[in-house]
C-alpha cells in the first residue's frame, strides 16, 4: 500500500513537472514570435511566411515558419545596426489556394513587408505568386517542387529546393553510376506524377548508357502485381524503377522479393512514407528513393543548428525546417544587399526583388543557393535515401547535383 502511494505521488509530481516544462517552452516561443511586435514607424522591415499552420499539413507548415523565425531572430541585431527593426509576420495559408491568395493581398497592402517565405504546397504557391508578381513582392520558396512554379518566368518567384523534373534524372544518375545498373525495368502507375517521373528517369538512364529492358504500367488500387513482375523477372534486370506512390510501391517491393528479385528497387519521393515500410516489411531492404529534402543532421554545422532549433522550440526538426531557415536567410541577404545599394535607406520592393534574384553564392545551413534567370536554385540537389532494415526514414546515401 505504502509503496503504491509513493509511486502514484511520484507520478503526479513528474506529470506536474512535465506540464510546467511544456508551459514554459510554449510561452518562450510565443514571446519570441511577438518579439519586435511593438515597433512600427518608418524603419520597420517585415518579412512574411505563408504556410499551412492548421490542417493536415500543419506540422510541415509550422516547421517552415519556425525555421524562418529562427533566421529572423539571428539577423535582428545586424538589422538594428543598419537602423532597422526586423519583424516576422506569419500567415496561415491552410494549404488552400483561395486562402493563400487572400493572404497575399493582405501582404501586398502592408508596405513594410518586403518579402515572403513560402509556400508548402505548389498548388497554393502558383496562384498566390501571381499577386506577389503584381506588387513586386519577392517570394523564396522552401518546398515547392512543381515545374510550373518557376516556368511561368515571374520575376518575384524563387525557390531553393529542386524541381520535380530533376528527381527522375537524379535517380537515373545514382542507379547507373553508383549502383552500376545496366539493364533497368521501369514500372509506372499511369498517373501524371508516376508516369512523368518514370519517363524522366527512363530518358536519363538511356542517355547514361543503361538499357531499358521493360516499361510497364499498373493500375492504382490493385494489389496483385505478379503479372508485371513475372515479366520483369523474365527480362533479368539488375534494377527496377517504380514511378508511383507507396501503396503500390510497397506491394511491388514485397511481391518482387517473393519472386526472388533481390535487386535494388528505386522510386521517387512518392515512396517517402512510413507506410511504405509497413507494407513491404522486411522486404524493404535494398530499396532506394529520391527526395528534394536533405537530412540536415548529416553535416556538423547542420547538427548544431538542429540542436539549437530543438532547444528553442522544443520540437525536433522536420524535413523543411532547415529549408524555411535558408529561404528566410536568402531573403534577408537580398534585403541587406538592397539596403546597401540604396545607400543605407529602406529599399523598395522592386529593389529587393532584383537583389534576391541576383544572389549567386549563398551558403545556407542545408543547401547552397544561387538563382538562375528563372528563379531556380542552380545548386539544388536531389538526395538519394536507402532503406536499411525495416525502419523509416531511410538513410541519406548521396546528394545528386545538376552539374555532374
Amino acid at each position: 500500500m505504502k509503496r503504491n502511494g509513493m509511486r502514484s505521488w511520484l507520478a503526479v509530481a513528474s506529470a506536474a513537472l512535465l506540464v510546467s516544462a511544456c508551459g514554459a517552452g510554449g510561452g518562450g516561443a510565443g514571446n519570441n514570435a511577438n518579439g519586435g511586435g511593438g515597433g512600427g514607424g518608418g524603419n520597420v522591415i517585415k518579412i512574411a511566411t505563408q504556410s499551412p499552420l492548421s490542417g493536415s499539413n500543419a506540422t510541415l507548415g509550422e516547421a517552415i515558419k519556425l525555421g524562418a523565425q529562427l533566421a529572423v531572430e539571428d539577423k535582428q541585431d545586424e538589422f538594428k545596426k543598419l537602423g532597422f527593426t526586423l519583424q516576422l509576420v506569419p500567415y496561415d495559408d491552410q494549404g488552400d489556394p483561395k486562402k493563400g491568395v487572400a493572404n497575399a493581398q493582405m501582404i501586398a497592402s502592408d508596405a513594410d513587408i518586403l518579402g515572403v517565405v513560402g509556400h508548402l504546397n505548389s498548388g497554393v504557391a502558383i496562384p498566390s505568386s501571381e499577386v506577389y508578381e503584381k506588387y513586386a513582392i519577392p517570394m523564396v520558396s522552401p518546398a515547392n517542387t512543381a515545374t510550373e512554379v518557376t516556368d511561368r518566368g515571374l520575376k518575384t518567384v524563387n525557390r531553393i529546393c529542386a524541381r520535380d523534373d530533376f528527381q527522375g534524372p537524379a535517380g537515373a544518375q545514382y542507379a547507373v553510376q553508383q549502383l552500376g545498373a545496366k539493364k533497368i525495368f521501369v514500372i509506372q502507375d499511369k498517373t501524371a506524377y508516376g508516369q512523368g517521373l518514370a519517363d524522366a528517369f527512363k530518358d536519363a538512364a538511356q542517355k547514361l548508357g543503361a538499357q531499358i529492358v521493360g516499361y510497364e504500367g499498373i493500375t492504382v488500387g490493385e494489389k496483385d502485381f505478379n503479372g508485371v513482375l513475372n515479366n520483369a523477372k523474365a527480362a533479368k534486370p539488375d534494377l527496377i524503377y517504380f514511378g508511383g506512390l507507396y501503396a503500390e510501391g510497397g506491394l511491388i517491393v514485397q511481391q518482387a522479393r517473393a519472386k526472388g528479385l533481390n535487386i535494388p528497387i528505386m522510386g521517387g519521393d512518392g515512396l517517402d512514407s512510413s507506410t511504405m515500410v509497413q507494407i513491404a516489411g522486411s522486404a524493404i531492404t535494398n530499396t532506394y528513393y529520391t527526395s528534394v529534402a536533405a537530412d540536415v543532421t548529416k553535416t556538423d554545422a547542420g547538427k548544431q543548428w538542429a540542436d539549437r532549433y530543438q532547444q528553442k522550440f522544443g520540437k525536433p526538426v522536420e524535413s523543411y525546417s532547415a529549408y524555411g531557415y535558408d529561404s528566410a536567410q536568402v531573403l534577408l541577404k537580398g534585403i541587406e544587399n538592397a539596403i546597401q545599394a540604396n545607400g543605407g535607406k529602406k529599399p523598395t520592393r522592386e529593389q529587393v526583388r532584383d537583389a534576391v534574384r541576383s544572389i549567386q553564392d549563398f551558403q545556407g545551413i542545408v543547401t547552397k543557393v544561387g538563382f538562375d534567370d528563372k528563379g531556380d536554385n542552380k545548386y539544388a540537389n536531389v538526395y538519394v535515401y536507402k532503406f536499411e532494415g525495416t525502419k523509416y526514414p531511410g538513410t541519406q546515401v548521396a546528394a545528386m547535383s545538376k552539374q555532374s
Binding site: E216, G221, D224, N226, V228, N230, A234, A258, G281
Partner: protein, 319 residues
C-alpha cells in the same frame, strides 16, 4: 520472344489461377443473389473487403495478445475464416433485410441504387474504424503462411495453396449443397419462380436470407485469404475486385454457380497472362497497362457470340 513466353508460362498460370480463385469465389456471391432476385448486389465487393478487415483484425488482436505464437497456425487460420464467414454472412443478411427487402417490389433500378449506397457506407465505416484504431486506413496484417514454395522454376507463396484449396472446398461444398439438400432445392425453386415456390410452402424470405448469408460468407472468407495473400488491405479493395468478379459472373453466365467459378478462373488467368506477356509478345507496343483492355475485349467477344454467358441458359422471359 515466344521462347521467353513459354518459359514463364507455368509461373503465369499459377499466379493466374490464384488470382482467379479469388475472383471465382467472389463471383459466386454476385451470381447467387442475381439468380434468386435478379438484383446486382453491388455491395458484395464491400462485403469481401469487410471480411478482409475482420480477418486481419482478429489476427492482429491474437498477435497483440501474444497467443499467435502458441497456437497452431492452421487452427488459427480456420478459426479466423469461420469467425469472418459468420460475421460477413450476418452482415450480408442484415444488408438484405434493411436495404433490399423493403424494395423488393420497387422498380429494378431502386435496389441497385440502394446497393451502391450500402457499398459507400461500408467503405467509409471500415475506413473510419481502421483510421481510428491505427491512424492509417491502409492496414498491414499478420501473414501466417508467408514462406515461398518452389516447384522447379515456379515460386508460389505457400498461402496461395490455401487460397486455392479453400476456394475449391468452398465451391464444391456449395455445389453439393445447392444440388443435393432440401434447402438447396428450395433455393433453386425460389430462383425459378418466387410466387410458385411460396405456394409450395417454401419460406421465400428465409431462403433469400440464406442465399445472402452463404454468398456473403464465401466473399468474407475470400477476403481473409486475400489479406493473407497480399499482406496489405485498404477499404477500397472491394471496388475493382468486385467489378472484376461481377464480370467473371457475367462471363460464366450470371445466375449460374458453376459458370461463375469458371468465369473467375478464366478472367484471372487472362489478366495475369496479359500483364506478363502483352509487352514481350507485341514487342513493347502494348504494355501490361492494357491487361484489362485485353481481358475485356475477349469478354466482349465471348458475349457477342454467346450473350447468355459460357454456362448460362437462354431463359425465356418470365410472363
Amino acid at each position: 520472344m515466344i521462347a521467353q513466353t513459354l518459359q514463364s508460362l507455368p509461373q503465369v498460370l499459377v499466379d493466374g489461377v490464384t488470382l482467379g480463385a479469388v475472383y471465382a469465389t467472389v463471383a459466386i456471391g454476385y451470381t447467387m443473389v442475381y439468380g434468386i432476385l435478379e438484383l446486382i448486389n453491388f455491395a458484395h465487393g464491400e462485403i469481401f473487403m469487410s471480411g478482409a478487415f475482420i480477418g486481419t483484425a482478429i489476427l492482429l488482436v491474437l498477435n497483440g495478445a501474444g497467443w499467435l505464437a502458441h497456437l497452431p497456425k492452421l487452427l488459427v487460420l480456420l478459426l479466423t475464416l469461420l469467425v469472418a464467414m459468420a460475421l460477413t454472412g450476418l452482415l450480408g443478411m442484415g444488408i438484405e433485410r434493411v436495404a433490399y427487402r423493403p424494395l423488393r417490389h420497387a422498380p429494378r433500378l431502386i435496389p441497385l441504387i440502394s446497393a451502391i449506397g450500402v457499398s459507400f457506407v461500408l467503405q467509409d465505416v471500415v475506413r473510419f474504424i481502421a483510421e481510428w484504431r491505427t491512424g492509417n486506413y491502409i492496414v498491414t496484417g499478420v501473414t501466417l503462411y508467408g514462406s515461398e514454395v518452389n516447384f522447379g522454376s515456379i515460386t508460389v507463396k505457400s498461402n496461395a495453396l490455401f487460397v486455392l484449396g479453400a476456394a475449391v472446398v468452398m465451391m464444391a461444398g456449395l455445389d453439393l449443397f445447392v444440388r443435393k439438400t432440401k434447402w438447396g432445392t428450395a433455393m433453386r425453386a425460389v430462383a425459378q419462380d418466387k410466387d410458385t415456390a411460396a405456394l409450395m410452402s417454401i419460406n421465400v424470405n428465409r431462403v433469400i436470407a440464406l442465399t445472402f448469408f452463404m454468398g456473403s460468407a464465401l466473399g468474407g472468407a475470400t477476403g481473409v485469404l486475400f489479406a493473407q495473400q497480399y499482406g496489405t488491405i485498404d477499404p477500397y479493395i472491394g471496388f475493382i475486385l468486385g467489378l472484376k468478379a461481377f464480370t467473371a459472373a457475367v462471363l460464366g453466365g450470371i445466375g449460374n454457380i458453376r459458370g461463375a467459378m469458371f468465369g473467375g478462373f478464366v478472367l484471372g488467368i487472362l489478366e495475369m497472362f496479359a500483364s506478363a506477356e502483352l509487352g514481350p509478345l507485341t514487342g513493347g507496343v502494348l504494355g501490361a497497362e492494357y491487361k484489362d483492355v485485353f481481358a475485356f475485349i475477349i469478354l466482349i467477344a465471348v458475349l457477342l457470340f454467346k450473350p447468355e454467358g459460357l454456362f448460362g441458359q437462354a431463359v425465356k422471359e418470365k410472363v
